[in-house]
């Protein structure tokens, strides 16, 4: 049974973009999926064999209007309305790994528009979880099927979708079949909640 490191997460403003192209509105995902938090932590630690997922406990949803600039032509494109999650609180669960050494507290950047000041997150170590209590319930985050064993998840009534997994050292990647929030699963209680998070 894997062990986990629980870190609390706090952020003033996050944009966890859904992969939707077109339109002038960019919604934010309301769950901290495996791909977002794992890739951010891998980048921060430089370790490739790291896996983590997040659960958002509370946030406020607001809108931000942003007009991307074409620097070469010095012109602005059509303004976009972006959904921003403010005052975000949640937890990050990192699969414990002997090669992994993380500080008690640290900062990472998550999501979109980081250059505009969004995405700064404070992570603080809370506890180490061994043999977590497992129950049947509703998953409140997104996890690739091929990594579900790392989080002790068994599907009961799955809701599927795809998450993007980049290929190391390339600009490409693949979409991998994943369990989405709302799936009925048997798993650690800390990953269970209602359809829209806990």
């Amino acid at each position: 049974m894997p062990e986990y490191l629980e870190y609390s997460l706090k952020a003033d403003a996050l944009i966890l973009g859904e992969r939707i192209k077109g339109g002038i509105f960019r919604p934010s995902s309301k769950s901290l999926r495996w791909s977002t938090i794992t890739m951010a932590l891998r980048k921060w630690t430089g370790k490739r064999d790291l896996h983590a997922i997040g659960v958002l406990d509370s946030y406020e949803s607001n809108y931000f209007v942003y007009s991307p600039t074409e620097r070469a032509a010095k012109t602005s494109k059509i303004p976009l309305q972006v959904e921003v999650l403010n005052n975000v609180e949640g937890n990050v669960y990192i699969v414990k790994n002997s090669k992994l050494e993380l500080p008690y507290e640290f900062k990472i950047f998550l999501g979109a528009l980081i250059s505009k000041g969004f995405g700064k997150c404070d992570l603080k170590f809370e506890r180490e979880i061994k043999n977590p209590e497992r129950k049947k319930g509703t998953l409140c985050t997104r996890i690739p099927l091929k990594y579900k064993h790392l989080f002790s998840i068994e599907e009961v009534k799955p809701i599927y979708g795809y998450l993007f997994e980049p290929n190391p050292n390339t600009m490409t990647g693949t979409y991998i079949k994943s369990l989405f929030e709302g799936s009925e699963v048997e798993g650690p209680v800390f990953l269970l909640g209602d359809n829209n998070g806990r």
Partner: protein, 668 residues
């Protein structure tokens, strides 16, 4: 159907017949209750007439089913009855239907208890012509929708029309099940009755609830074709499996399937568009399989329209236990001196947790047992999904590889075969497309939904209330919601939607209404206050069709209104529209939201909000700071300037945030 075949729908025609003096009787009697006298008096040689006279096997009936078809008709008749007949006393009757969702008990006492408009000769003449079910419904529709199937007070909750339609369906479902009925059971009534009971306790049917889901996130007007596709699909299912479909909403189906039909039979239809569905299936015996022993739940053993009942019972038993424990803990602790409480509380809590865990485990075991025995099954069914997809992935559903490129709009979009088909094939929403080119246009998306689970609970609650009015003992045990009541409700729900469609057009005018489905509209509005016009018409229709839902804590009919500028992407509206959380949810995108219970709607619509200028000021203030607006209302100054708002919050139970949104709606 050939006219020479038995038409099960006509089996109860004699319930419409006046009491008649028949040879062999010393007074005028009900022909329906005395079929042997009718049969002796006149013999019409066709299977439907046989069905009319021989579809009962009870002790008061001297003639009874004497062929496999009539045996199935008898069974179908029982399955589509409004109640389990043995339970309701028959000393008081009224032929008029009592609709749980709109009839008032006081009116029952004032209506003429008899409604039997046909005479026997008219019936003979009609049946002699070998009529089909369409002929029957065409000729007597008005009578059939008014006449209760069972005239006993307390059982008169479904119409003869609904019962007739349902009997036809159950008859054909049983036929499709290919259960064998040996010929030698008809030699005497005793053998027939014992076989009937035995078959009922052993034959089973599958009750399956499907909910269609889609993963597409429509962001262009053209992608809203998905709803037209959904409607076409719904029509296709209803047409193809008309006898199996017993209840539908715009995305849910309740079916009764013979055991020889697998529950994934819809998969091929749904997978044409990449839709997925979730299903719950329960195998039920036709009658209580073990009537003499105390079941887990007396309503569970037999054919029940709620396939999730066992799971729901488990949840409510656990929730009840939790509530009881909380109360008991509170009362126990209050009796203990404060300084000793801490230590004892821990001990009591531990004991409670153990009881709760034991109860949870018990229910889980029961559910697991049902699953292992194959009686209960639930799951989500998808089209075949790849474990990995190399980019590009479809931009609309993000569930399949993109195989087509659509660049007609000037933006290149990669689509999968399913989304391509939906975009190409559906009808276009022309008005909505035109509105997107106009300046300063707002749209209100309106969706009405029916919560199936809540519907059954609410009907049960209203039925208990009706039985209590009649002073019938043990109403909780007797108030059983069967398929017939659901079908009766569906009949009214469809009429309600028809009226709603008409009224929306008459209030908002054809050119401003884009109808997407019967229960889903997009309306072009100049300002938010037009939402109130819709609330008024909705309120009047609820009063007309489902007034009793205003007396319940939660209504099974839900309304969501989501308003924004016309160009705001649809899929953001859809998140609210597809998941109603309250009786009425109103969302003004970027401005606020409000939730209203159906039982508050009258009060809301007559709510006086006071001075218009002060209101406008308050609405503006609320846009900047909700807290400041709150202070404005509850302060001493607020008492003077907004007395009605204070009343709404402190006396009528509205939440201040909801009222502030209402202020914004009215003030726009």
């Amino acid at each position: 159907m050939s006219a020479d075949e038995l038409v099960p729908e006509i089996h109860d025609i004699m319930k419409l017949c006046e009491n008649t003096k028949l040879p062999g009787a010393d007074r005028e009697v009900s022909p329906h209750s005395n079929p042997h006298l009718v049969y002796d008096y006149k013999k019409i040689k066709n299977p439907t007439f046989e069905g009319i006279c021989k579809h009962h096997h009870g002790k008061n009936f001297e003639i009874f089913p004497d062929s496999p078809s009539l045996f199935l008709l008898d069974m179908a008749d029982n399955l589509s009855a409004s109640t389990s007949r043995v339970k309701i006393p028959n000393d008081r009757t009224n032929d008029a239907i009592f609709k749980l969702w709109k009839s008032y008990f006081e009116n029952v006492k004032n209506t003429n208890p008899y409604f039997r408009p046909l005479n026997l000769n008219e019936i003979f003449e009609f049946v002699r012509k070998n009529p089909g079910k369409e002929d029957y419904f065409r000729a007597y529709y008005d009578y059939l929708i008014f006449r209760a199937e069972d005239a006993k007070l307390g059982a008169n909750i479904t119409s003869l029309y609904t019962h007739s339609v349902l009997t036809g369906k159950f008859y054909r479902i049983l036929k499709a099940a290919n259960y064998s009925v040996p010929d030698d059971i008809f030699k005497d009534k005793k053998t027939l009755v014992s076989t009937y009971n035995n078959k009922g306790q052993n034959w089973s049917l599958n009750v399956v609830k499907y909910q269609i889901k889609f993963t597409q996130k429509p962001f262009r007007v053209g992608d809203l074709n998905i709803f037209k596709v959904l409607q076409n699909l719904r029509n296709e299912i209803e047409e193809k499996y008309s006898d199996f479909v017993l209840f539908t909403t715009s995305d849910e189906f309740l079916l009764v399937l013979p055991p020889n039909i697998k529950n994934d039979f819809l998969k091929s239809l749904l997978s044409k568009y990449g839709f997925w569905f979730n299903f719950v299936r329960r195998e039920c015996k036709l009658e209580d399989p073990d009537p003499n022993t105390e079941n887990l739940n007396p309503k569970m053993g037999k054919l029940n329209p709620d396939p999730e009942k066992l799971k729901k019972d488990a949840n409510s038993a656990i929730e009840k236990k939790k509530r009881d424990q909380k109360e008991s803990l509170k009362s126990k602790l209050s009796q203990i001196p404060e300084e000793r409480r801490k230590g004892i509380e821990k001990k009591i809590r531990k004991g409670y947790e153990k009881t709760l865990n034991d109860l949870e485990r018990n229910w889980e075991t029961k559910i697991e047992k049902e699953k292992i025995n194959g009686l209960f099954k639930e799951g989500n069914e998808y089209i075949e999904l790849f474990s990995e997809i190399k980019p590009p992935i479809c931009e609309i559903c993000q569930m399949a590889p993109a195989e087509f490129t659509d660049d007609k709009s000037g933006v290149k979009e990669e689509l999968c075969k399913y989304c391509w088909k939906i975009r190409e094939n559906g009808e276009k929403l022309i008005k909505l497309a035109e509105w997107t080119y106009e300046e300063d246009i707002k749209t209100a998306w309106i969706k009405i939904s029916l919560n199936f689970d809540k519907l059954i609970d609410t009907l049960e609650e209203l039925y208990i209330k009706y039985l209590k009015e009649l002073k019938i003992p043990d109403p909780e045990e007797k108030a059983e919601i069967k398929f017939s009541v659901l079908s009766e409700f569906q009949f009214d729900y469809e009429s309600f939607l028809k009226q709603l469609n008409k009224k929306i057009v008459s209030v908002f005018h054809e050119e401003n209404v884009e109808k997407i489905l019967d229960d889903f509209f997009c309306i072009k509005i100049d300002n938010s206050s037009e939402i109130i016009k819709f609330l008024r018409l909705y309120n009047s229709l609820i009063d007309e069709f489902f007034s009793k839902f205003k007396e319940t804590a939660e209504s099974p009919i839900k309304l969501v209104i989501s308003e924004s500028a016309v160009k705001f992407p649809f899929f953001e509206h859809w998140k609210y529209l597809e998941n109603p959380r309250n009786d009425i949810d109103i969302k003004l995108i970027g401005k606020g939201e409000m939730k209203v219970n159906l039982n508050q709607l009258n009060t809301l619509l007559i709510l006086r909000l006071g001075d218009k200028t002060a209101l406008h000021k308050l609405a503006k203030m609320a846009e900047i700071s909700k807290e400041l607006a709150y202070m404005e209302i509850v302060s001493k100054k607020g008492k003077k300037e907004h007395p009605d708002l204070q009343k709404a919050v402190f006396e009528e139970g509205f939440k201040i945030s909801d009222i502030l949104t209402y202020v914004k709606i009215k003030g726009d």
